[in-house]
Amino acid sequence: MQSLGFSYALLPVLKKLYPDRDEFEARLRLHMEYFNTQPYLASFILGAVVRLEEDRAAGRASLAAIDAAGLKAALMAPLGALGDSFFWGSLKPLAAVIAVALVMAGVWWAPILFLALYNLWHVGLRLSLLFWGYDSSGDAMALMERYSFTRMARLFKAISLSVLGGILAGISGWRPEFVPNLTLPGPVVAGAALTCTLIIVTVLRRGGSPIKFMLGLALFCLALAYAGVV
């Protein structure tokens, strides 16, 4: 599916580089072949492909050099894995957890902060990768050296867990919709929240599905309500 979008993005470049209709069509069809990678890191590949097509159109590309199709095939899987791990697996959870912490505390502008935290990284990287791909002609090793995605992903995950710990500790200060009517001291309630969370993690790790757990939790609450506990 991304091949449609990728070739659509290349349309103006190919039109400019290949005034001959047959050659333009041939290059366009080449870029309509299967392509699937992490959407943001696709801009690196896009920039590199533009550079390769420019070199090819100007007669600068050597026969031995990798062509655009080969570059796309070589980069899409590794960049897909890298991008998924960084953007979906660490940056998004970090921004989300910070925003949720603020929502729990009653801050109404938390969604705006979420967008700002995420998009400062996302848009900045997306733009710079487009130009970096063009300048480096798709040098993925240079990309890895310049942006330590793996290290940043580890950092963001650790910070997310720390903020989550903070959310659980601050249970007494949560917005009123979430605060139980208990006369226990705050630290005791926070400790109980942490314990319950860890128990749920253990259950989920044994193969529990989140949806089944939610349904089970709802039934559990119903049982407690009918038992008169709440």
């Binding site: 309509m32 009653g106 979420f114 710990g165 709440v230």
Partner: protein, 257 residues
Amino acid sequence: MFDLHTVLAITGVALVGGLIGLDRTAAGQFMISQPIVAAPLAGWLLGDVTAGLIIGAMLELIWVLDMPIGSFVPANATVSAVTATAVAALTSPGGAPRSVLGFCILLSVGTVPFTMMADTYVRSWNSRLLDAAHAADGADAARSLSRAHLTGLFAFFLKSVVLYVLLLPAGLAAAALFLRSPDRVQVSMELFLMLLPLLGAALVVRRLSISALDPFLLTGFIAAGLLAMVFHLHAVMITLLTVVVGWLGVRCREHRS
């Protein structure tokens, strides 16, 4: 039950939700489609931002690590969040109570199979657009490509609109039945809402850490607890300081290894 105001609201939510849904995979991906943004936006349009914030925050925690990796089609958290918020806001004008919020979040689980089915169908339909663009010859190739690309975008938009038009009335009917249910059922949904943050936190910990008793989770917990007890800091400051604590923890670990 479905007066003119409700019909107009459903239409409005379907159109706005359809546009927001494009951000999910088809265009932009600026995360406006994430529950923590989409739900408050829907809530604001329908006059209940609080419902949107609460539902959005909970569904964000629950679905944040459900990732569209490769060909896997995750649940459409945007449709779930917007539907749940719209049902809450339209069922209880003036502010949805806890029980309704809890029920609407539970209801969003029911949207999952429909959204996954719809997403899978539209993706496979869209893949035929590429074949059609390929088949076009000569000067039509570029025009065909542009048309296929924009048709694909429209297909995603239409899919979301249809989902909202089908799910919202069903959700409203379910909520109306819920409001007539015994008090104990409503109390159970209040308790369900209160326990949801723990489930959400557990889902995130499960995916981000290899151990349940993660040292960063524990450090953030202790640091936040101490800061709140000793200094009585505002939650925003405590959140900021837990970010710093996490960062320092990683630096220490890197320094030691």
